[in-house]
Symmetry: C2
Subunit: 348 residues, 2 copies
DNA sequence: CTGTTAGCGCTTTCAG
DNA sequence: CTGAAAGCGCTAACAG
C-alpha cells in the first residue's frame, strides 16, 4: 500500500524538472569533464533527492553496447559445477577481479545448446573447461566478443592452462616403484556414463581432454620405473563426485591382485580411496599409496594428507579474468606445485 | 582475417531481405500464433541460413522490460561465498530451477553498496542471507521487482527459512549432560572481526541473525539439563572458514577446565574441532563430544562422523527460485533433520 | 495474417 | 556549457 517506492523517473523527466537538457544530466553521470564540477554536484544531489539513481541500465546496454556483465561459461551445468571445489576456487578468483573492476558475473551452463540468450548483451566470455555441449562450443568460437579459455584451447583465443602431463608425471613419480601393482582412477577418459575399467574403449580427444594428458604423465612415470599398467587397471568415472569415486575405489581395492598404488586424477577421488581403504583396514601408505590431483583444501586437511598436485585454481580465475578485461592476446601456462603428502611416502 | 564471423544482421535487415515486415519476423520468433506455421518455418530457416540468431537481446530487454536474468544476492562477497559449502548447495538448488525455466543466474555481492548496477535489467532477486551491506539491504527493500529472501525476512516479501532455534536445541540435546563442561563456537555473534570469546559484548540483532537463534537453542538445551554455559565459554568467529575455526578450536581445547562438549554453529567448525582434538590425542566422543550444524557432505564422511543438523540447502535454493518465478507471496519454513553421528554418542 | 509506426530510455553529435 | 535530434534494435498496438 504505502510502500515507499522509488519513483520511476527517466533521465528526461529529471532534465525537465531541473530545467536543463537531457545531455547535461547524462554527462553528469557519465562524462564529468563535460560540465562544471559545481553544476554536476547540483545535478547529482537533485537526482539523489528525487530518487533517480542514474540512467536506466537496460537502455544504456542497448545504446552503448556494453553491459559490464561477463559470462562465465562452465564446462557443465551450473548445479554440477558448483559442487566441485576446484571450480569454486576458480570462480573465487574470477569474482575477485570482476569485483575490483566493477563487472558482474553471469554463470552460464556448458550444457546449453546455444549462446544466443546472452551473447547480445554480455561483454565477454570466460570458458572454464571445454563446454560439454559441442554446439555451444561452436557458437563461442563463431561469435566476436572477447573470450578467454581455461584448461582448453580455441583457435586465435587466449587461454590459461597448466601443464597436466608434467604435473601428473611428477606426482606419480613420488609414489610408483618398479615392483608395485599400480591402478589409475581417471576422469572422463572414455565415452561412458558409468564407473568402469577402460579396457580397449577409445579414449576421448586428446586436444579437448586434460585427463588424457594426466594419463600420459602417469603412464610415463610408471614406465620409467620399468613397471607398467594394463588397461584393466585403469578406471574411468564419468563425473568427479563422491558417488562415482566410491564405486571406483571399491572396485580397485577388491581387484586381484590388489593394487598397492592408486594414482587418482582428482583429490576428491583420492580422498574417497583413502576413506575406503581406512574402512577396509588397509594401511596407508604402508599397504596402499595414493596420489591425487588439484590441491583442494580437504586433501591437505585429511589424515594422512594426500600427495597431490596443487594447481593454483584461484590464480587461474584471476588470470583468466584479468586477461579478458585487459584484452591480452597471449596465452599463459600456470605453474603447479607438487605436494608430498603422507599418502605416498615411499620409504619402507 | 577469414574468421567465419556471424554477420551482424538486425531484424530489420532480415525483413528487408525476405521482403516481409519486421513485425512478421519478430512474430516468427516471439509469437508463433500470429502467423502461419508455413511462413514461420520459412522465416526461421531463412534466418538460420543468413546467420541471424534471433532478435537482439539487449533491445528486447529494453523494450520488454524483461531479461530472464535473476540476480542472486549473496550475504557477502562472491569470492567468500563460493568457498562455503552450504552456499554452494543453495546455488545448486537455485540453478537447477533456473535452468529448467530458461532463466539466467547473475551472482551479486552482498557487500556492494548499491543495487543500481543491475536493478534496471534483472527480473528479480533472491537474497541468500541478509547482505552484509546495510545500504544494499535498504535498496532491495525499496525497489519493486520480485524478491525472495532466504534465512532472513524483509517486510512484505516472501522468505525461505528453517527453524534455527529448534534445530539447535535438538542437536545440542543429543550431546549435553548435566555435569558436562560445555563450550560453544558461534558464528558472527558479535561485532568483531577476530576470533574471541564473547564475554559481555553486545550480541548482534536477533532479527537479522540466525546464529543468535542457534545460540538460544543451544542455551535452552543446556539449561534444560540443569547445566549452564558462561560467556567465557562462548566463542565468536567472524567468518565460517577453517582459519578462524582452527583458532577457536585451539582456544577451546586449551581452556581450563577443558570442555568435554563443544557445540558448533557449522559443520566446518565442528570438523576443525574434530581434527584439532585428534591431533591433540583427545578421544572423540569419549573425552570430547562435538555437534555441528548444516549437514555438509564432509561432515557425514569424516570419521567419526559429525552429529549435526541437516538442513536441506539444495531444497532451500529450489524453493526460493520456484517461489520467485511463480510469484508466490507466502513464506515457508523448511524442515531439518537431526543426524546422530558418532561425535556425540552419550552412552558411557 | 501482414505492414506501419511510435516509442522503450538513453547517448552523442552537432550547432549554438 | 546547452538544446535538439537521430537512432541503438526491437515490440506491440493498430489499421488494413
Amino acid at each position: 500500500m504505502t510502500v515507499p517506492n522509488k519513483r520511476n523517473l527517466t533521465l528526461k523527466d529529471v532534465a525537465l524538472k531541473l530545467g536543463t537538457s537531457t545531455a547535461t544530466i547524462s554527462n553528469a553521470f557519465n562524462r564529468p569533464d563535460q560540465l562544471s564540477a559545481k553544476k554536476r554536484k547540483f545535478i547529482l544531489e537533485a537526482c539523489e533527492e528525487l530518487g533517480f539513481s542514474g540512467p536506466n541500465k537496460a537502455a544504456q546496454i542497448l545504446r552503448k553496447g556494453k553491459s559490464n556483465i561477463i559470462a562465465l561459461v562452465l564446462a557443465d551445468s551450473i548445479d554440477y559445477m558448483v559442487t566441485d571445489p576446484v571450480a569454486n576456487s576458480f570462480i573465487e578468483g574470477v569474482s575477485k577481479v570482476l569485483k575490483e573492476e566493477g563487472k558482474h558475473l553471469l554463470l552460464y551452463s556448458g550444457d546449453s545448446s546455444t549462446l544466443t540468450d546472452v551473447e547480445d548483451f554480455v561483454d565477454g566470455f570466460i570458458c572454464y573447461g571445454a563446454p560439454r555441449n559441442n554446439e555451444l562450443l561452436a557458437n563461442i568460437q563463431a561469435q566476436r566478443k572477447p573470450v578467454v579459455t581455461v584448461d582448453f584451447n580455441l583457435v586465435n583465443r587466449p587461454s590459461v592452462n597448466i601443464d597436466n602431463e608434467t604435473s601428473a608425471y611428477e606426482v606419480a613419480s613420488l609414489a610408483v616403484k618398479p615392483t608395485d601393482t599400480v591402478a589409475i582412477i581417471g576422469l572422463r577418459l572414455i565415452e561412458a556414463n558409468t564407473t568402469c575399467r577402460i579396457y580397449d574403449s577409445p579414449l576421448l580427444d586428446l586436444e579437448k581432454c586434460i585427463t588424457r594428458r594426466r594419463l600420459n604423465g602417469f603412464t610415463k612415470a610408471i614406465e620409467e620405473t620399468g613397471n607398467s599398467v594394463q588397461n584393466d587397471m585403469i578406471w574411468h568415472i564419468p563425473e568427479n563426485n563422491h558417488k562415482y569415486a566410491k564405486q571406483a575405489a571399491l572396485e580397485v581395492l577388491s581387484a586381484h591382485p590388489r593394487p598397492n598404488v592408486v594414482l587418482c586424477m582428482s583429490d576428491l577421488v583420492a580422498i574417497e580411496v583413502l576413506y575406503c581403504a581406512t574402512a577396509a583396514n588397509i594401511k596407508v601408505p604402508e599397504e596402499l599409496r595414493i596420489t591425487g590431483f588439484d590441491g583442494i583444501n580437504e586433501a591437505l586437511r585429511v589424515s594422512p594428507s594426500i600427495s597431490t598436485v596443487c594447481q593454483a585454481s584461484v590464480q587461474k580465475g584471476v588470470s583468466a579474468a584479468t586477461m579478458l578485461l585487459s584484452g591480452v592476446k597471449e596465452s599463459v601456462v600456470l605453474p603447479c606445485e607438487i605436494k608430498t603428502g603422507e599418502t605416498a611416502a615411499i620409504d619402507d
